[in-house]
């Protein structure tokens, strides 16, 4: 498998898509830094944490990883070069795992690319961190784990759809849908318990009264939303730096998703008829 991995990495570093994705990730980190800097210009507080979250894990990073993995693995099917690996005796397990590791390395490279901008540019420009080192370490570790979850999901999709375009559409579309869903859940959880309504009193005056929020969902549903946010990568990403993130729950579910998606991916890939 080392040989397969070596061949994959050689191809990866020569890939224009890979280089472009790294450049976009670095560019996005820079843009985010400038944006936070301009907003914070008057107060000059330490606000590097916000950009740090994005270097650890962000929807942009996940989308770029989707593009990279779909094109990289899909190309092997498109050109038929996966046949060269099978004909000379590599097992499907070896091919799958080599691609999974390559995808995980791509995710790491995206993080490194963001960090290459964050540490020399963002950190001094945004007056350092406001959060505790332990909290920052938690964000970094969980962020990296979320990217690994995406790497395993994208590998499973790319290895079983057998072309370049389909996995690209599937992964980007599902990323978008799940991010929207996560945003909806977080907005429901954050919805106020009460709000101010205006009514006419007996004297005929228009007065404000505090009433329960009629649109707020039941506590049971909101708890369920909270668990979902901690279990699924899109949710974890949305609440990465907030106190709503339960570290052990997120880490455990990430490991479970990696194992399950890889097992499912291999089981399907083993039975695939390759042309």
């Amino acid at each position: 498998m080392i040989k397969l991995l070596r061949a994959n990495l050689l191809r990866l570093v020569k890939s224009k898509t890979f280089i472009a994705c790294l450049a976009i990730q670095a560019g996005l980190t820079l843009m985010m830094t400038l944006n936070v800097y301009l907003v914070n210009l008057a107060e000059k507080r330490p606000v590097a944490d916000m950009v740090f979250d994005i270097t650890a894990c962000s929807p942009y990073g996940a989308a770029l990883l989707a593009v990279m993995s779909s094109i990289f693995m899909g190309y092997d099917y498109h050109n038929g070069t996966i046949r060269n690996k099978l004909i000379i005796g590599y097992s499907r397990y070896e091919i799958y795992f080599a691609n999974l590791i390559t995808c995980a390395i791509s995710a790491l490279c995206l993080n490194l690319s963001a960090m290459a901008v964050f540490y020399p540019v963002s950190l001094p420009l945004l007056y350092g961190f406001a959060g505790e080192p332990l909290h920052l370490f938690k964000i970094f570790s969980l962020g990296w784990l979320i990217m690994l979850v995406y790497a395993s999901l994208y590998t499973a999709v790319a290895m079983t759809t057998k072309n370049t375009v389909a996995p690209l559409i599937i992964t980007i579309a599902s990323l978008f849908v799940f991010m929207m869903l996560a945003q909806y859940m977080i907005s429901q959880i954050n919805a106020p318990l009460e709000w101010t309504d205006y009514i006419y009193n007996e004297a005929g005056e228009f007065v404000p009264v505090v009433v329960p929020n009629p649109h707020r969902l039941s506590e049971g549903v909101l708890k369920f939303f909270g668990v979902c946010l901690n279990i699924f990568p899109s949710g974890q990403m949305t609440i990465l730096s907030s106190e709503k993130l339960v570290g052990w729950q997120s880490a455990l579910s990430s490991v479970c998703i990696i194992v399950l998606s890889s097992a499912a991916g291999i089981a399907l890939f083993r039975k695939e008829n390759i042309n």
Binding site: R11, G80, N84
Partner: protein, 304 residues
Amino acid sequence: MEYCLETDYLIKNYRNFRALKGLTMHVPEGAIYGLIGKNGAGKTTLIRIISGLQNPSAGSYSLYGERYGTRGIYKARARMGGVVETPSIYANMTAYENLKQQFILLGKPSFDEIHEILKLVRLDDTGKKKAGHFSLGMKQRLGIAIALAGNPDFIVLDEPVNGLDPQGIVEIRELILKLNRERRITFLVSSHILGELSKIATHYGFVHKGEILKETSAEELNSRCRKCLSVTVTNPSALAPALDYLKIEYRLTGENTADIYGDTPLMELGDALRLHGVTLLHATEKNEDLESYYINLIGGDKND
């Protein structure tokens, strides 16, 4: 005879369609085995299965004695190379880079051999030209070069001359012959262009509707397809001595029948046989070529 590939009643189902219906074949080591069959006969399905791209629904096969389903099959496949349908090449890489990729996959310690392989397939002057810009013939030769990277003992080529111009066809043919003669590489070449296969094959397998109808050597097939006179006589025991005495090339095909080769006029033959106590009862001229042999074998017409 040593076989590098043997299949044992291979069956392949695609949902409701059965592409292979118990295909059994034997590819001898050192042979150029021509797999002949119409489009949809099951040639490519067979090649995909033995290349590890697809799994058989039933039946088995062995490569160099290693059976499908055992760990040994992966080692046996390391002795194999192939081009299935279209050449498997990275279009955005040069010929050299494509071979380098394959060398890394094979774990070769040095890339020195790449130039030698490129020279062998006459792609040594392509420089920085990307493989995506190659002609079909060049791509086909690059595909063969990649197959050669692992110094294989057995190469599988699926329709290697499909879509090539006449010069490209000659080049591929010469390359196959050269590799077979100089490196003793066994080839399994599938094609529906009979004329092309007949110029290189040492053995044939005729596939029809997912089954092998007949396996034969080129030698046997040539003798079967040679122009000859098929005769029926009265005194079978005297026939062979008579023909030996007359120094006529022949092949006994039945108890009182024989195929007689050469240009001996029928009248003279009849007289000569009569002198040896053999009476000629019936004589028919046979002139069957590979194409008509194949058509007769599948029992249909050309346009079927």
